[in-house]
């Protein structure tokens, strides 16, 4: 048998444009597999020379799915440029930003679960391509589709109320926020007259977790073992208690057995991380300096966050976390497909947090902006829906940006996604005489579990059709499929 190479390009139902190459040897065994990120736009470069206060507005154009995350991470960094640390922001500004952030995580997780991941779960990995989409989900389970749409809508309405519009709105300004919340806006989310209220969001989040748990019980064999591999896990945790933290906290990393690898102030990140590059991808490979390129990489996102935190500080999500943790006897969970389960627990957590904030009168305060002594460096780190998001800016004395470094969640997950692709490729493609579509779909499912935002990671949007090319050992295309 000739040596051959299989290319999946682009990968579908992820945000952006990726390509997978699987190299096979003369015996038909998988030699290696790569997820290439082939987009490039270079936000870090062209933001240079712009005034610092433009950053929270400019950088959210990285993405149409998670602009709020970039807006908030940039705002946290810019706060420091005007001399305001997170603890010195006014309580009202902090709470308004948090509400915006939780609305964002809630809508993004809803989008991923209902629109992108649920077809794989409902119809299985062998379902034909035309069935693996939201319409087929709607035909099969109308109520699930309706709830998915309304849950995403709730998060988007929170964003619209605070930032003015659902995509690319503005709430944060240097040192605070530019608007407060009104009683009327609050009632919209509490009274349930125009949209299902926040209590309904909590109820539906619990229902979806129950759906996931039942699904897991029925399909434990593949959910537990698909693309499973040991890794380190990274996430923010509460400064004092170690609880799950999405807005501001310490960076904590544990290994696959639960041993602590890192527990640092978030603004110290640059002393502990480096980024490697590979010639076949625009996406960098971050790793913890102390442990090196091979052993120092982390997974980030919902699964990693549940592995790094000590507990969750909302009651219903904490109950679900305990059930989740019991399955691995409180050890870190390295089962990639359990990321979906973890994501749903976070949705419940966000719904509870949104309710808590909506009932807090301080949300309607008027102490919105604080000032301090300007500095030339600011670092903002949050937990975005897909994982740890880092923004760092340096300015000159005129306030113009001289340097910018963005490490987005998908970049942290780069090595993890490559390992996932390799693991699945070796399981499903070794010694197979024919490459079938379900086999290729399994490769995509392994990537999709991370909800990668390739647009964010390299900052470009892409096309979505799938092209599969088979190449012989000399690089000649011997077969091609387009769907």
């Amino acid at each position: 048998m000739n040596k051959r190479k299989i290319v999946i390009e682009p990968v579908t139902r992820v945000e952006g444009h990726g390509k997978v190459t699987i190299k096979m040897n003369e015996n038909g065994e998988v030699d290696d597999a790569f997820l290439h990120i082939v987009e490039f736009r270079g936000f870090e470069k062209f933001i240079q020379g712009h005034p610092y206060w433009e950053a929270p507005v400019l950088v959210q154009r990285l993405c149409g799915i998670c602009p709020v995350s970039h807006h908030i991470a940039a705002a946290k960094a810019i706060d420091q440029l005007v001399g305001v640390d997170p603890e010195n922001l006014s309580p009202t500004a902090t709470k308004l930003r948090k509400l915006l952030h939780y609305g964002q995580v809630f809508q993004s997780h809803s989008l991923h679960f209902f629109y992108l991941a649920s077809p794989d779960l409902l119809f299985g990995i062998n379902a034909p391509a035309e069935k693996r989409n939201i319409v087929a989900v709607a035909e099969s389970n109308q109520e699930l589709a309706k709830k998915g749409i309304l849950m995403r809508k709730f998060g988007q309405e929170i964003i619209k109320a605070l930032a003015g519009k659902k995509i690319h709105g503005i709430l944060a300004v240097p040192g605070g926020v530019h608007k407060t919340f009104t009683k009327e806006e609050r009632e919209y989310f509490l009274d349930g007259k125009q949209i299902p209220n926040v209590d309904t969001m909590i109820e539906w989040s619990k229902e979806i977790i129950d759906f996931m748990k039942t699904y897991h019980t029925d399909n434990a064999e593949w959910i537990d073992n698909f693309a499973k591999y040991p890794s380190n896990h990274l996430g923010l945790v509460d400064q004092e208690t170690g609880a799950l933290e999405l807005y501001d906290g310490r960076l904590r990393s544990v290994d696959s057995e639960g041993n602590e690898l890192l527990n640092i102030e978030d603004i110290e990140y640059s002393y502990h991380f480096k980024e490697a590059v590979e010639p076949w991808s625009y996406l960098k490979f971050p790793y913890m300096t102390k442990y090196g390129r091979e052993k120092g990489w982390n997974r980030v996102g919902p699964l990693a966050r549940l592995n790094t935190c000590s507990h969750i500080n909302t009651p219903l999500a904490e109950i679900e976390r305990q059930i989740f943790k019991l399955y691995t006897q409180n050890k870190p969970n390295n089962m990639t497909m359990h990321t979906h389960w973890a994501r749903l627990i976070e949705m419940l957590h966000c719904a509870e947090l949104m309710k808590e904030l909506l009932l807090d009168d301080e949300l309607m305060g008027d102490d919105l902006v604080r000032e301090g002594t300007p500095r030339n460096k600011g670092i903002g780190i949050i937990e975005a829906p897909r994982g740890t998001l880092i923004h760092e800016y340096h300015t000159d004395d005129k306030g113009l940006i001289t340097k910018c470094n963005l490490i987005v969640s998908t970049t942290h997950n780069n090595e993890a996604m490559n390992r996932g692709v390799r693991s699945v490729a070796q399981n499903v493609l070794n010694n197979k005489p024919e490459i079938t579509e379900p086999m290729l779909n399994q490769i995509e499912i392994a990537i999709r579990a991370y909800d990668p935002c390739l647009s964010c990671a390299t900052h470009a949007l892409g096309q979505m059709p799938l092209i599969v090319q088979l190449e012989d050992s000399k690089g000649n295309i011997i077969d091609e499929k387009v769907r």
């Binding site: 579908t12 139902r13 945000e15 149409g64 799915i65 989008l111 629109y115 992108l116 035309e130 989409n133 939201i134 319409v135 709607a138 035909e139 109308q142 589709a145 309706k146 749409i149 309304l150 995403r152 809508k153 988007q156 995509i167 949007l461 979505m464």
Partner: protein
């Protein structure tokens, strides 16, 4: 005020990309002319959740810029739910939104697409001269013939 009873007009596009702003400009002018702004909606692209929005209306009109050459610079056509649906979170075509609306909400509003030919797509606010002419032609036709049919 000109009422658009149970009719929703959706302008699709991006006004910072030159003629891609045609859909939004169409709506801006309707608003200036006194059409009820509650029935006008600007979108960068259509998304799955728009199926829920259009389910509340009897008629939906999608207005978008078009790269293809069109006779008179615009084209109005009735559309129907797509038979097959593909999915991307970046954009969903109008006929697929109709399909989703039918599948999820058991509603099928009457639907039209107004395509307006554009020429320039660079990063700049403001329509090209030719696109502006096409926009005016499309608006005149809409008001003289199409709108009166809708309200009658």
């Amino acid at each position: 005020m000109k009422k658009l009873d149970k009719t929703l007009i959706i302008g699709i596009g991006n006004n910072t990309r030159k003629d891609d702003g045609l859909g939004w400009c169409f709506l801006d002018i309707l608003e200036e002319k006194g059409y009820n702004s509650d029935n006008l909606l600007c979108k960068y692209q259509l998304m799955v959740e728009d199926a829920e929005i259009i389910a509340d209306y009897n008629t939906v009109i999608f207005i978008d810029a078009c790269k293809n050459q069109l006779k008179n610079g615009f084209l109005i056509e009735e559309i129907f739910p797509a038979e097959q649906v593909t999915f991307s979170t970046h954009a969903v075509p109008p006929n697929q939104i109709l399909n989703l609306c039918e599948t999820i909400y058991n509603k099928t509003p009457k639907a039209y697409v107004i395509k307006i030919e554009g020429f320039k797509w660079n990063i700049e606010i403001g329509l090209s001269e030719q696109a502006t002419q096409n926009l005016n032609n499309a608006l005149n036709h809409f008001e003289q013939y199409f709108f009166s049919e809708l309200v009658n």
